[in-house]
Amino acid sequence: MNSLSVPHLIGIRDLTTSDINTIFTTADSFKDVINRPIKKVPSLRDITIANIFFENSTRTRISFELAAKRLSADVLNFTASSSSVKKGETLIDTVNNILAMKVDMVVMRHASPGAAAFLAKNISARVINAGDGTHEHPTQALLDAYSIREKFGDVADKKVAIVGDILHSRVALSNIYCLQKLGAEVMVCAPKTLIPKNLSDLNVHYTDNLKEALSWCDVANMLRIQLERQEIPYFPSLREYTMQFGLTQAILDELPKQITIMHPGPINRGVEISSEVADGQNSIILNQVENGVAIRMAVIYLLASQIER
């Protein structure tokens, strides 16, 4: 019960419910630590972590970096745009060169689904997936579920609507796995073109009516439209998307109950969510960011505890 059943964090799909609860309990303690005057503990003094980002990221990279530093690990940051990847080096070569410098753990974001799993099979270090294409983004799902647990006390039996670009979203897939493992019910809401073909395998509700989704749920997780992954147009225009799926205060006011609003970021204000809602009293968007550091500390701590010297 006290250690994770996996050597790497590739996806939520590989985790057991008990793993997720262990991560949450550990994160509770770290949340306490990061609110102390001295926000740092010496646990991982002898661990070196490489943050390897082949795709752009601000929040996730900073959050991982801060989590590692709060645990006293050494961190090196690597972004593909300023590296030899541009000169034609393969993924394995790049990572093995970094590992030759004695790195214990790799946090990687990559545009190809399966990149993290591939890496975990081929290198000796521990791997944490910080997003692999449209596949999974496990730490985001953990922090989302953790934020729901913090707000409501428990995740079980909560109704969560995920609204937006489900087809291209790794956040959506990881969230669905995580919420279901914790006993929550999930509904996805998007234009039909942005719904993956195999949705029925995931055992989630579906609607293309935003108001229906909002009246059903306790929590709405608003996702960004990932224009950078859309090689063809999936809907006529962003304006039309906003008209049908954009969340505004007026829509919230019409609902018979209060619902909690989440967003994994980055927010496109005025597209999927209005500024008024994003900054409103029902929004826990910034709590998600704070919890992100605690969750990542917990994941790093629990995986690092398996490293043998």
């Binding site: 006290n2 250690s3 262990t22 309990t25 550990t26 303690s29 306490d32 630590v33 102390r36 005057p37 001295i38 740092k40 503990v41 010496p42 646990s43 991982l44 645990l71 701590y301 629990l302 690092a304 505890s305 398996q306 490293i307 043998e308 010297r309």
Partner: protein
Amino acid sequence: MEKQVILDSKQFDLTLTRLCHELIEQHSDFSSAVLIGLQPRGIHVVSRLRDKLERLLGNAPVCGTLDITFYRDDFRRREKPIIPNVTNINFSIEGKSVIMVDDVLFTGRTIRSGMDALLAFGRPKNVQLLVLVDRRFSRDLPIQADYIGKSVDTLLQEKVKVSWLEVDGEDKIELFMMDQYE
């Protein structure tokens, strides 16, 4: 070797009372002193001392609990990661006399971690150490207690167990050989 009772419940109570008087001697009304119990077993010592001091002084001293999990030096030398306990220090220790409290002082490593953990909450005026049992001549680090319930000379293979009425059904301190210990 049979298990051996070092303190029975009557002596146990007397010892705690004496420790309270020693604390009062040094810190009078506890206006600038706080008690901090180390998780997991030091918190029982603190809660007893707190009750007794409240009876002796008329008001209870400020007490907290401190978890040292993330400050340990044996991380990854154990089979499983250690899941932390609750830390509860909702007061400032800045400029205070802090009395760290634990049940048994053995190698001194827990206390070293405890000092690290404590200093993350601020800069106390000074730190003292109170232990119920001091296992002499077994220190790995140069650490000594300021208040000692009972000093015992033990072998490395022995284990000291402190039982509490509220969790174990009886107040007593026993000495076991390691293989007799559950």
